[in-house]
Assembly symmetry: C2
Homo-oligomer: 279 residues x 2
């Protein structure tokens, strides 16, 4: 089979590598708005060739839409206009908006909305790696709006990637990811800006930075081209969670201001409850 | 040589393991206020025997003070009252308060204030591991207040642990660690409480939680017995940083509320500057 990878970056590139290695596809056509990335994707062996969106869609059996989500929402109707029997799936971090954008499209059923829960703080073709995705969760949203054969092919793909598939509706998905992904990025960005704003002795931070700092601030390296559209599309959920986070931080602030260390201990013990969720 | 390890937990236990393996010490005497931990430390081979504080100090050449910092500050004068030529060093996360507590002690010069920048979210003897510390930074504070031979022995110890030694005064140390360690813990605790407060579908989080969430929330598992005293002792610095963090988070909130995505992009690009510090 032939796969068209629209957006040959971290996710599209990594997925193409694995699907070819596993033998599901024997030809990978890349499409990228950035000519430099397209060239790099060929050089790195992520794709066999690059082509226009139209040619790539026409000559493929599977279309993987892996651009940032703002672009994905614009490209999806154009892609669906052209598909015959192809299966189209996306991998974006929000699902409500993209599903709404094509809900009445005559070829809606050829599209499967998905979100593999894997990524790194890096982006672009050079960030793509083999053996990504394995043992992580992936979500398929609004399954009932897709053809059974399209869902089956996407399930097969995630099976080859060794991912655990969850099914939920797009609205629930977007609410959950605000908690478990989007807010972590905002706290990392804010923490990085706090350090960059106030701590002038960068050498000292660099020397001292231990594992704890690195793990909480790592996400602050993430690309705005990916994240601004995510925050736009998931604005209401992210605002809800962000408001609650500020409330929670104020509790810590108030404990320190009032030197109420009994309540501080309670807050920390409560937070330790996260062990129930994260082993 | 004989080492007395006061507080046989993650740090004390891990350090004893390595120092014995490297041949610097041939006898390790443990002291722990928790009889269960003392017993466990012997069973796990972290220490050769357990004893009272007095006996351990009297029979050792080196005293490693590795209790939570509140207890350390109380124990240090008692230990210094007994020392002859022993070298005493601590490994606490704040340095100002402990240095102030013994500044006028007649045996002050036998004490070296240190802070190895390594740890995990786990605690107690069972959390101790071999090969901890390596390639991380450690800080020696107020070096000029210690005897040269005491500093030299502590430097030798950190050399054996394969750590990179930095020197600074206690006040600067405490300000820097508020940024690179203490605030990361507060954001993790607050993030965990946000999720536990608002997100009722714990199964969904557990299934979905990806690397990003895990790395930002991991620290929320940390023990309040260790962290409450740290926040008490470093209250002013932590409050400064926490206030700035809330200011930074409010900027993100305001961008979302006003749908000012241009400024949101600027904030994220600024945060990306952390790449200068964390490679």
């Amino acid at each position: 089979m032939t796969i068209a990878v629209i957006g040959v970056g971290l996710i599209g590139g990594s997925m193409a590598l694995t699907l070819k290695e596993k033998g599901l596809v024997n030809r990978v056509i890349g499409v990228d708005a950035n000519p430099e990335h397209a060239k790099q994707a060929v050089e790195l062996g992520l794709v066999d060739e690059c082509a226009t969106l139209e040619k790539a869609v026409d000559e493929s059996d599977i279309v993987l839409l892996a651009t940032p989500i703002g672009a994905a929402e614009k490209l999806l109707p154009v892609i669906l206009d052209r598909v015959q029997q192809q299966v189209v799936f996306d991998v974006g971090s929000t699902k409500n908006s993209i599903c709404a954008a094509i809900v009445n499209h005559p070829n809606r059923k050829r599209f499967v909305a998905t979100h593999p829960m894997w990524g790194t703080e890096n982006s672009g073709p050079a960030a793509a790696v083999k053996d990504a995705f394995a043992k992580k969760a992936t979500v398929i949203c609004n399954k009932e709006e897709s053809d059974a054969d399209a869902v089956a092919l996407v399930e097969k793909i995630y099976g080859l990637l060794n991912m655990h598939i969850l099914y939920m509706n797009a609205a629930d998905h977007d609410m959950h990811v605000a908690y478990i992904s989007h807010i972590s990025h905002i706290t990392s960005f804010a923490l990085a800006n706090t350090v960059l704003e106030k701590e002038r002795e960068e050498d000292a931070i660099f020397e001292l930075a231990s594992g704890g700092f690195e793990s909480t601030v790592r996400l602050a390296k993430s690309n705005p081209d990916m994240w601004v559209p995510i925050f736009m599309q998931n604005r209401d959920n992210v605002l809800d969670v962000l408001n609650e986070l500020i409330v929670q931080l104020r509790k810590f602030k108030s404990c320190l201001e009032k030197e109420n260390y009994t309540y501080l201990e309670e807050l920390i013990k409560k937070a330790n409850g996260i062990r129930r969720i994260l082993k």
